[in-house]
């Protein structure tokens, strides 16, 4: 088989997250492509949670339609999840809770609790579950042993041995019971790829891009970005600082941006709402700052642990008044890494806030990344005046907000002699001094708004879309963020049914690539915009920005990501009753 889906369900706070992580990481090391996601709630201990790992021989970036092997740590998990098993799917359950399987479901019971009890540590129950899973998926046990040895090396021989024993006992017990039932996954290619979440990728991207200050306030599902950086940045002379709230977080970054450092904050919807005023400050005073929004269910506190893509309007146009903001939308961990580097380069080159519109699916789910290319990481600090030239100019000559053709004016940095100026959120003249005269106001507004009309870095345009498929498709599927992977698979499904399908990922939400969108939609017979929100925000923005071609929205806003088959079905549904 080319792909298997493994799922484990149980109680929150019982270590299933690290169980799933072990399973996914080992499969990744075996050379499979992984997509691993979970269902969880705000509750810390107790309440149901489950983790799913897609293990495939090709790239997969979407939730699975069915489960091959389900590991149940309690009866609740069976009751909730057994329905997801594909025909012929297997249920592994801890024999301790005397599991009852629904009719027609093949169950293998494994004495996980007993194994753990023997080993005097309840966490081995989960390791036994992994052993059992390896057996049923036909995966080599050694790979798991190697990984566990590495992971627990610091904890000493005994812990490693304990893990091994639990693993082996789960494995062999299961094989004995159900060798005949086991699946046989095609072997992985053995390539050592990366496995990471979008939050990981953004933290890495920031450090690689030269960001040395990450300042944030904890919030699901963005906290890991701050937490990752708190571990990493001290190694590079930087700092991750948890501050008192999001108002402070973005303000610290803006202060640092003014002084010439690269700083980033990461938050979710509620934090974005709180940051709106200061995002406007950065727009107005032309200060670089990078802001990450890992979107979750809104509005208000909403659904903190559920996926959604409903902040686009707030990100692109949400503050009072009108100022430049750039909004990037990565769809994979790989894109998230490069977009973060790009975000810093854009911020320094356009002197304005750059927002990375991530989402819970992208931020938290693990995925395989082929590789990240050191040589693609270029730091472009943008137009900064030469201190020597400044000194030569003398006092009161330098114009921080000079009108230029591009609208971007080279900046001075504190510490440079004769570069002194006033940076202010109030309207100002070219030297920065407050000036409210109508003619100046009009010109300054145009300067700021026009400079981001077209984006380029190092003379290269920043691609606004990613298009894949035939030039004149029957069906065009538009996505952004983590629906990207879903739409790619949905397109496959539709192609299998004989449709001529292309996909278009919107990579930049603001400035929206209007011409590219017009051309692509104009060439397609029918266009669908696939979004995880209730009002079709991307389609809304497209119409508003002048993409006048009709499109159909496929929307889901129940807190879960689309499955590819759902998208395909929605597309086909819209053809019903319409002569082809």
């Amino acid at each position: 088989m080319r792909e298997l889906v493994w799922k484990i369900g149980g109680e929150q706070g019982t270590g299933l997250d690290s169980t799933s992580d072990v399973f996914a990481t080992v499969c990744n090391r075996l050379g499979y492509y992984i997509y691993a996601y979970k269902t969880f709630s705000s509750r810390i201990k107790g309440g149901h949670t489950n983790f799913t790992v897609r293990v495939s021989t090709r790239r997969v970036l979407a939730t699975a339609a069915g489960v091959h092997v389900l590991v149940a740590m309690d009866q609740d998990s069976i009751d909730r999840l057994a329905g997801e098993l594909v025909p012929g799917g297997l249920l592994i359950a801890d024999s301790h809770f005397q599991p009852r399987a629904p009719e027609g479901v093949q169950m293998v019971t494994v004495p996980m609790t007993e194994i753990a009890r023997d080993l005097l540590n309840p966490v081995y129950r989960n390791i036994a579950a992994i052993g059992a899973s390896a057996a049923l998926l036909g995966l080599p046990l050694q790979a798991f042993k190697d990984y566990l040895a590495e992971k627990f090396a610091a904890k000493g021989e005994q812990v490693v041995q304990g893990n091994w024993t639990a693993l082996e006992r789960g494995y062999s017990y299961t094989l004995e019971q159900a060798a005949d039932k086991a699946f046989q996954l095609d072997p992985g290619d053995g390539q050592r790829r990366l496995i990471m979440t979008g939050n990981d990728a953004i933290a890495l991207g920031a450090v690689a891009a030269g960001c040395r200050l990450v300042v944030a306030y904890p919030i699901t599902p963005a906290s890991e970005i701050l937490e990752n950086c708190a571990r990493i940045l001290p190694r590079f002379g930087g700092a991750a600082v948890q501050v008192e709230d999001e108002l402070a977080a973005v303000a610290v970054c803006i202060g640092a941006g003014f002084a010439g450092a690269r700083a980033m904050t990461a938050t979710a919807g509620p934090g974005i709402s709180l940051m709106q005023e200061n995002i406007g400050l950065a727009s107005m005073a032309e200060i670089p700052v990078v802001i990450v929004d890992v979107q979750r269910g809104g509005p208000s506190t909403g659904m903190p642990t559920k996926h959604e893509q409903s902040d686009l309007l707030a990100l692109a146009y949400g503050g009072h008044g009108e100022g430049p903001r750039i909004v990037l939308a990565p769809g994979t961990a790989e894109q998230a890494f490069y977009d973060t580097v790009l975000a810093f380069n854009l911020a320094d080159n356009y002197h304005c806030p750059v927002i990375i519109a991530s989402d819970l699916g992208l931020g938290l789910w693990q995925q395989t990344v082929d590789s990240l290319d050191f040589d693609r990481v270029v730091i472009d600090r943008g137009p900064v005046v030469d201190p020597k030239e400044l000194e030569a100019m003398g006092r009161d000559v330098f114009q921080r907000y000079a009108f230029t053709e591009s609208g971007v004016s080279p900046r001075s940095l504190p510490g440079m002699k004769y570069g002194q100026y006033l940076a202010t959120g109030v309207e100002h003249a070219t030297d920065g001094k407050v000036k409210e005269d109508p003619a100046n106001r009009t010109r300054m507004m145009q300067k700021r708004l026009n400079k981001i009309k077209k984006l380029e870095i190092g003379g290269q345009p920043v691609p606004g879309i990613l298009y894949e498929g035939p030039a004149r498709p029957e069906i065009l599927l538009i996505s952004y963020g983590s629906t990207f992977g879903v739409v790619a698979e949905a397109a496959e499904l539709l192609r299998e049914q004989g449709h001529r399908v292309a996909t278009l990922q919107v990579r930049v939400i603001r400035p929206l690539p209007v011409e590219e969108l017009r051309a692509a939609i104009g060439a397609a017979e029918k266009t669908f915009v696939v979004e995880n929100n209730a009002t079709g925000q991307l389609a809304f923005i497209m119409r508003a920005e002048g993409v006048e071609h009709p499109v159909e929205s496929i929307l889901k806003y129940d807190g879960t990501l689309f499955r590819p088959d759902e998208v395909a079905a929605a597309v086909l549904e819209s053809y019903k009753g319409v002569p082809a």
Binding site: N28, V241, E244, V252, F258, V369, L413, P414, L422, K433
Partner: protein, 288 residues
Amino acid sequence: MATLAEFKTAEKAWWCPGCGDFGVLAALQKALVELGIEPENVVIVAGIGCSGRIGNYIYSYNFHTTHGRTMPVALGVKLANRNLTVIATGGDGDGYAIGMGHFLHAIRRNPDITYIVMDNHIYGLTKGQTSPTSDPGFKTKTTPQGNLERPVRPLQLAIAAGATFVAQGFSSNQKQLVRIFKEAITHKGFALVNTISPCVTFNRVNTYDFYREALVDLDEDPNYDPTDRVAAMRKLMETDELVTGIVYREPESIPFEEKLPGFRPEPIVSQDWRLSREEFERFLDAYR
């Protein structure tokens, strides 16, 4: 070394004639000159309010932030470039109403920043509403029958929050104010200087004359020990903060940026940000 003239800008200060803020401006410029700090190494982070204009008149780097956010902006500047002298300024509304949370958290964090609050017990720029330091019973446009709230006592709050330097100045006592500013700026850590700066247009109660009468100079009291936190607090409670001088100072204060693990002495802005290929790969190894 820079002269006083070099610290001035061509712009004429736009405050009302007699405004206390003129004195704050003059004292600050004088203190900077006397400390031998170069204008290009000074960053004034100012709030929104009449007081917030102060940066416009100092030939330094100036950042006029949004209302209430001077503290975090100043922290960002300091972390980005540790070599800079960072001075945050603003009004009593800016600092103690909308900015109250940031104010106390800045104190807890103790970065090497000087915070000068120009306290006139009123909202000047918005034309005369109650401020958090307004006296009880004070009549303004928003409390036509008198203010009902207990006034913020910034010095007590600062000490309760663990401040390492707390002082109060009076805009018309230039000599003392210059001295306080100099000590505040040289203090290693967060220094609060609440500065009485009368608003001659909207506050007819807390006038120069009122303060000349009311203020007691702690610096002149040989028995007052500004390193005794408990005594400082008691003094403030007893005098209702009608004092000037250095109220409290912690000699062993270590600024936040010196405590940050791994944080380099060299300013971030002048570091080479590129990772080596090896560093990059070591990085990725954690995700393999």
